[in-house]
Symmetry: C2
Subunit: 342 residues, 2 copies
Amino acid sequence: MGKTRSAPTLTDVAREAGVSTATVSRCLNTPERVIESTRQRVLQAVESLGYTPNFAARVMAAKRSFTIGAIIPTMDNAIFARGLQAFQDELRERGYTLLVSSSAYDPEAEREQIRTLVARGADGLLLIGHARDPEIYEYLDRHQVPSLVAWSYVPEARRPSVGFSNACAMRALAESVLAAGHRRIAMISGLTEGNDRALSRVEGVRQALQAAGLGEGALTLIETPYEIDKGAEAFRQLMALEPRPTVVMCGNDVLAAGALREAKGMGIAVPEQVSVTGFDDIELAAIVSPALTTVHVPHREMGRKAARELVAMVEGTSAGQPECISTHVVTRQSLAAPPDPS
Amino acid sequence: MGKTRSAPTLTDVAREAGVSTATVSRCLNTPERVIESTRQRVLQAVESLGYTPNFAARVMAAKRSFTIGAIIPTMDNAIFARGLQAFQDELRERGYTLLVSSSAYDPEAEREQIRTLVARGADGLLLIGHARDPEIYEYLDRHQVPSLVAWSYVPEARRPSVGFSNACAMRALAESVLAAGHRRIAMISGLTEGNDRALSRVEGVRQALQAAGLGEGALTLIETPYEIDKGAEAFRQLMALEPRPTVVMCGNDVLAAGALREAKGMGIAVPEQVSVTGFDDIELAAIVSPALTTVHVPHREMGRKAARELVAMVEGTSAGQPECISTHVVTRQSLAAPPDPS
DNA sequence: TTGTAGGCGTTATCAG
DNA sequence: CTGATAACGCCTACAA
């Protein structure tokens, strides 16, 4: 009574159950290797003491943490939320825990987070996109931590990836835009430096224009961070252009939402006066008005597949099999034919 | 050459630098306690070997991880994103790392995550809301892990909280609704079981009605998970009622966004035919049309203050000082006077 | 200022 | 099937 108990350890449980620590450990990790009666006794002791294994000790002894780390560029919007949730769900089913940190699109922060996660004993890492300092990959190699890239699919890259071709996806959308009759095209891209997804999306638009026989002059490009306000700001700039573009393709739905907001504020009708497109098809895309024509990315599927593949890599079952997830254009009200020039 | 190096340890660095492991450790943790020249040598060895301290070992030896854990109900929408980002920023400034898991609003999952985080050596925990099994608090006590509740302010609760009064905030909003002339009020609440924030919001509406001399009959209540589709569904049900409510107050902006979407789909004009309100004032609230009248919660401020307080608790500087963050009603287009009954 | 040595809580190897 | 016992990598008195 009155004695301050601190957290019980394996030793406490062993004493309570009248067995050795080894047996307790076995009861917890390989229950089938211990006889029913003793197991009962041990588990009861565990229960009554409220014992929880010390993770650090376990990691150190087992050299395995059943933990997967993920570094995503941002938690501020829903772009990564759905895919990550699926990733986590799948991991859990396989007995792994997910640790997430966000780098705020800062390569230096990402480097630090990677080190932190590795130091914490992560068995594997999920990274977003391929673009990063090679030194990071060497670091991961040295620590023998498998890593998988998602949200991007580049089969020839140094790391295996489970994702989609940002270029193809955006190209398909651009083709829809062209098919609708647009010829003066503007794009609000996310910052492309250190972001291969953003870069590929721009590339996709360029490819479509070129295939349609349009020159570089047909595209006006603005780069800005992936934020609603920035999208709004960029849209305003574009609308000041002469001649005004007839369509504004945005690097993602967040930028597009900003563009739509600004259009409304400026009294510009979408899609009657100007069309707008997004990318990702997050929930937001269907809620704004007009609803966004965008590229649908099967985030959940990607998340689940990435989890399965990464676990396989961690467990040595796979060397890292790249996988391409297919996307498709979702047509909604924000894209229509360009206004009659008359 | 060709030799597979595995991760270097303290010992490797010590050997490389020609000092003892203790000195290397000091260079990393208390650099001022080692002379300049040796420090140089050690840091150089650290650099050239690409050494990263093994976290598990460090935690075990120091019984301190400089890690704070947070369990949030969901990552699927932006409700917690902004506050958590601020929380993380503030922690980082103070030398702590944040580990996040989401419980998907499942108490059992939350319990497990808490244990996981504690077992991982979290120095402190951020929890959302007060409602949970007392056993969990005992567990935290036993492990001597300080915890702080956020997104809710209940000074008399067992745990210190940094947050706002959900009841007062919602009551203020309900008063605005009443002031606009509404008398047939519906509410789409989040699930209240195990969610004190949701419950308090309902309570806030009830208080306002009562203060206005309205009976229980004036309020129609539906509870549903915090998802856009659920909000839409609930809205549809409410619109089938006879007489139809003139305003639908939603438990948060996500539900409200769903309601607005459904209204549009049903051809019901907001706010002309029915008003809608939200809660939280996430970015979404200003983007949907009509823009949402809602309760603004200063998420960033709350996150930063929570971080400061929790760190103080961890470092023994504070016993846990509850703090109330003030909210205010933001008036936008979605709330107007009820339609003329004529 | 620096080195020595013990211990943190588990797992894993190897006997018994 | 169960029990000693040696790691695991680092921190921290304590001693020099």
